[in-house]
Symmetry: C2
Subunit: 296 residues, 2 copies
Amino acid sequence: MSPGGFSCRHLTIVGLGLMGGSLALALRGVAGTITGVDPDEETRRYAVEHFIVDTATDDLKEGVKDADVVIMAAPVRVILGMIERRIGSYLRSNTLLIDIGSTKEDICEAMAQLPIGIQAIGGHPMTGKERSGVTASDPALYRGRPFVLCPTRRTTPAARLRALELIETLQAVPFEMDAIRHDRLVAAISHLPYLLSSALVATVAKEGENDATVWELAAGGFRDMSRLAGSDVEMMGDILSTNTQAVATLLALFRVQLAMLEAKLISRDDKEVTEFLRPAREVRLDWYAKYENGTK
Amino acid sequence: MSPGGFSCRHLTIVGLGLMGGSLALALRGVAGTITGVDPDEETRRYAVEHFIVDTATDDLKEGVKDADVVIMAAPVRVILGMIERRIGSYLRSNTLLIDIGSTKEDICEAMAQLPIGIQAIGGHPMTGKERSGVTASDPALYRGRPFVLCPTRRTTPAARLRALELIETLQAVPFEMDAIRHDRLVAAISHLPYLLSSALVATVAKEGENDATVWELAAGGFRDMSRLAGSDVEMMGDILSTNTQAVATLLALFRVQLAMLEAKLISRDDKEVTEFLRPAREVRLDWYAKYENGTK
């Protein structure tokens, strides 16, 4: 038996990227059969040849029709498209359908419209890696990391328990909350940071038009602050466009903080400046100590 | 002979932190004697016991009076205080005086007032480490990294050449520019990123007052974007207060970029959003490939 007590007859993972491939590896021992659905032939071949999945197809209907558990591991708009247009009619009744898209409100609303009998629940594991794609698959990707579950109108108590068992099997840390709360929290810790990173790079690029030496002097601080700007633009565009309101709210909160800090700087009141910076530093050090401990 | 052809009879390094300790280690073979000046007894003992310096003292006059090369490796305001109040009268004529403070305009202006005969030049190596303090000293810290030199009214051609030789001995990459240009460039790549990081942490802290779960969900993206907020507050306060104008200019440029991005988001024009994000991504990936190559 697996640590979480989760098992299934036929698991289908739609989308064999880093997240989907890692799910397949982590659930290898608890699923009778694993099928992968992916549009990319090279990805499918790699996943089968490396025993990440048992079978692979580019046909969604073919891939999910016999499954008792389906996990959609694709960009948010792709997941939305599947739920709204096709997957409901392909699934057997009582199939557990989980998605791991990065925003949850639109997806959970779409799930609520699925045929009665489909057990649908929204999910979002807070994990990742520098590298992406099926070749980066890692069975430990979810271990010790938060995995948020957002109930939908199609989530029965049994579906919820099964999803929790799946998370336990992944050795992830479950959090349950409604989709709106989820989207607000990730706006703060994920989408706002991404926007700041992109706007910083755009600012330095403007500066670089006048003085290209700026690129040669940039070092570790800029490296860290610009990393998120290197994220996949289509994926992030999907995320932002399905979370515009929360992102706008967080941007407004951020602007207030930045304006406060700037006002203190410009008034040249060094004590006021450090009184702003010090609690931010302490909060960051406290958080990081816990985070580092949790990811060990 | 060292690779850079630099040598001196008696090198004194004022400030035995990570930067000063690493300079001492890197210049071990090319200096007859190395003296360290530091107010902290524990630091001095460590530096002597680990052969980072030959002798150590907490007395600035005592430490620098016999030196032919003095490097000030301290926070900006400490360096300014030394130049403005004391060090000029302690140094022998013809001593090469270099500082490695993070902002250059105020320091180079102060250096211009030093007694004629002192060979003073501003410096700023763009390097660092997660760990700080003398115990993190590393002779390779400067290798392959930019080292900016800013001339002052007290920089003779001979002093400039000697400083360039020193940089070559460190295996760092020299850049020469005036102090105002330096301060503007580091405002873009270092001070603005720090302010954004601190304001981001302050924003998430505000969010955390309403929903503390935000801290439990924060992951790798937040980790990178918040790292700079964990910097030493006094040191950063010094830096910001000696570069307020350039920092304010860069903040204004940043605000324009962020406002443009936000406007595109709110108008829900996905194509416009990705057209902003895509060049930022490309610029970041290009820069990072070169940066990573340079630091190998």
